[in-house]
């Protein structure tokens, strides 16, 4: 089991979501975050005050997946979130010790396997 954490551009968030759904990744948590990753800072001016915006708006995806799903998930994100400019973001893949599905108490692989896939007998 892995936790895939992706930080992407906000304007790419919808495309990433679409790519994930197309790759059959259905359990996704999304949050708006701010970060800095070496891109050129935006300079903004309000009356006499000029500021450098060191933090850029980003969207963070948290996706818990079973091992064989890691690659399609990461591929989907890389494909959909890339513009080629600095600031496209990062994907982190982390080991996960334990997963529980709150509704049923299922653990680990069963907990991150979408319900209809269970019904189809793939688990």
């Amino acid at each position: 089991m892995r936790l895939v954490v992706a930080i992407v551009r906000p304007e790419k968030a919808n495309e990433v979501l679409e790519a994930l759904f197309r790759a059959d990744v259905q359990g996704v948590t999304l949050s708006r975050v701010q970060g800095h990753g070496g891109e050129t800072e935006k300079v903004e001016t309000y009356r006499g005050t000029t500021v450098k915006m060191e933090l850029a708006e980003k969207v963070r995806f948290d996706i818990g997946v079973s091992d064989h799903f890691v690659e399609p998930t990461v591929k989907a994100i890389l494909g959909a979130a890339r513009t080629g400019d600095v600031g496209d973001g990062k994907v982190f893949v982390l080991p996960v010790e334990k997963i529980y599905r709150i509704r049923t108490g299922e653990e680990d692989h069963a907990a991150v396997t979408p319900v209809q896939v269970v019904a189809a007998g793939r688990a």
């Binding site: 304007e11 701010q34 800095h36 800072e41 903004e44 500021v51 915006m53 060191e54 933090l55 513009t83």
Partner: protein
């Protein structure tokens, strides 16, 4: 009238009306600003706000003379350029200078209306060049045709407050601009939602308020005609709003707020050419009828490849056309004292109205297209895809509508020997702010 004299009541009403019409442009900024995504809110609002300055200056310099100066049937001369000879002498019953300002507020809002078709993608510099030149090359001649003694005026075309001059004219330019610039990169690929519907409702409310000056002020006097135009400006949009809401309910089971704001504007547009020429019940009918073409055009347009982003063509083009034609049907001598329409036994008027509509569409379409192409020779019209993704607020204005001060590092001007002392602290703050 033997010798023209100033009438204080008329002057007072036109002073107020001019301010009301000028308010419509910031109102439009809110109406349009609410309908775009938050990353483009300032850019969209600035497209209206900038017209207050750029078109206002162009109007005083040349526009007024080209529209209302003595000239040919097609365009005024240059005798009134830089307001030469425009003083406090009577023009009708109000000071000439006030008449100039009142008409100037019309030129400003008309140019700003065009922006709705090209939001979220046009470079701001190219936009400024376009509306400034457009107000001189397109708006001023068309205003001359209808109000400045040009050929449509001589034919007897009726346009009380600007159905053809303002709305059909702006909508044609909007259509041409939307096609010339092309779609936004996300159009029909992603959902593009209004970011602040309350702004749009606020804008619609302020537009309605300002429109009383637009229509009732067009009587150019504080008289019965002004009262008629005023009441019609209240009744027609009410009719449109009711029909629009019912259409919404029939289509989706829900009465939408964006729909209500749109319905109000369509009703205001439609009554504009007819305001002082038709009776109040005719105005109500006109407003109700006008809802249908615009409503279905809006629904249909969203499925096409035409990215007229805020539906200037459906709202102003169709609304203006329906209004201009129905003026030729519903005009009543009993109310306006001078001319009847089709319903009152003068079918020729409808034909004259149609000629006016076609003439304005043809000229505005061709001239707006050539103007955009000419500007495109000097500078690109559209921002690149990367800037479009980032949003035009940051890329065009270096500001954000909803800025967050987290991570904003102050850039201090370096002056004298004292300044560097402040800098180490600043660098430390920057490091603390996430740069390790």
């Amino acid at each position: 009238m033997d010798t023209p004299t100033l009438v204080p009541a008329d002057t007072a009403w036109l002073l107020v009306s001019t301010a009301l019409v000028l308010l419509m442009t910031p109102a439009l900024a809110f109406f349009y600003g609410g309908l775009v995504r938050s990353k483009n809110a300032l850019n969209t609002m600035m497209m209206s706000v900038a017209a207050l300055g750029f078109v206002g200056v162009a109007w005083a310099a040349l526009g007024y003379s080209l529209a209302f100066g003595e000239g040919s049937a097609f365009v005024g001369g240059l005798a009134r350029a830089f307001l030469s000879g425009v003083g406090l002498e009577p023009q009708g019953t109000i000071p000439h200078l006030l008449f100039m300002a009142y008409q100037g507020a019309f030129a400003i809002i008309t140019a700003a209306l065009v922006s709705g078709a090209i939001v979220e993608r046009m470079r701001f510099g190219a936009y400024l060049a376009f509306i400034t030149l457009w107000s001189l090359v397109v708006y001023a001649p068309v205003a001359h045709w209808v109000w400045g003694g040009g050929f449509l005026a001589k034919m007897g075309a009726l346009d009380f407050a600007g159905g053809t001059v303002v709305h059909i004219n702006a909508a044609t330019a909007a259509l041409v601009a939307a096609v010339t610039l092309g779609q936004r990169k996300d159009y029909a690929r992603q959902a593009i939602l209004p970011h602040n519907v309350p702004f749009t409702l606020l804008g619609a409310g302020l537009l309605w308020f300002g429109w009383f000056g637009f229509n009732a002020g067009s009587a150019l006097a504080a008289n019965g005609t002004a009262a008629l135009a005023f009441v019609n400006t209240m009744l027609a949009p009410a009719g449109t709003l009711v029909v629009w809401t019912l259409l919404d309910l029939r289509r989706s089971g829900k009465a939408t707020a964006v729909g209500a704001a749109t319905g109000i504007v369509v009703g205001l547009v439609a009554i504009t050419p007819a305001a002082g020429l038709v009776g109040p019940m005719a105005a109500l009918v006109l407003g109700m009828v006008a809802a249908f073409p615009s409503y279905f055009a809006l629904v249909y347009r969203a499925r096409t490849r035409l990215d007229d982003s805020l539906d200037v063509v459906a709202a102003h083009g169709l609304g203006g056309t329906v209004g201009a034609l129905l003026t030729g049907v519903l005009a009543s001598k009993g109310w306006n004292g001078t001319v009847d329409g089709l319903l009152h036994g003068n079918p020729a008027q409808l034909g004259i109205q149609a000629v006016g509509v076609v003439a304005v569409i043809a000229y505005s379409g061709a001239a707006s297209f050539l103007l955009l192409k000419a500007i495109a020779l000097v500078m690109p019209l559209k921002v690149d895809k990367r800037e479009e993704g980032l949003g035009l607020d940051v890329s065009q204005h270096g500001e954000e509508a909803y800025a967050d001060d987290e991570g904003a590092i102050l850039i201090l001007p370096r002056e004298g020997a004292d300044a560097p002392a402040a800098l180490p602290a600043l660098a430390a703050a920057a490091a603390e702010g996430g740069r390790s």
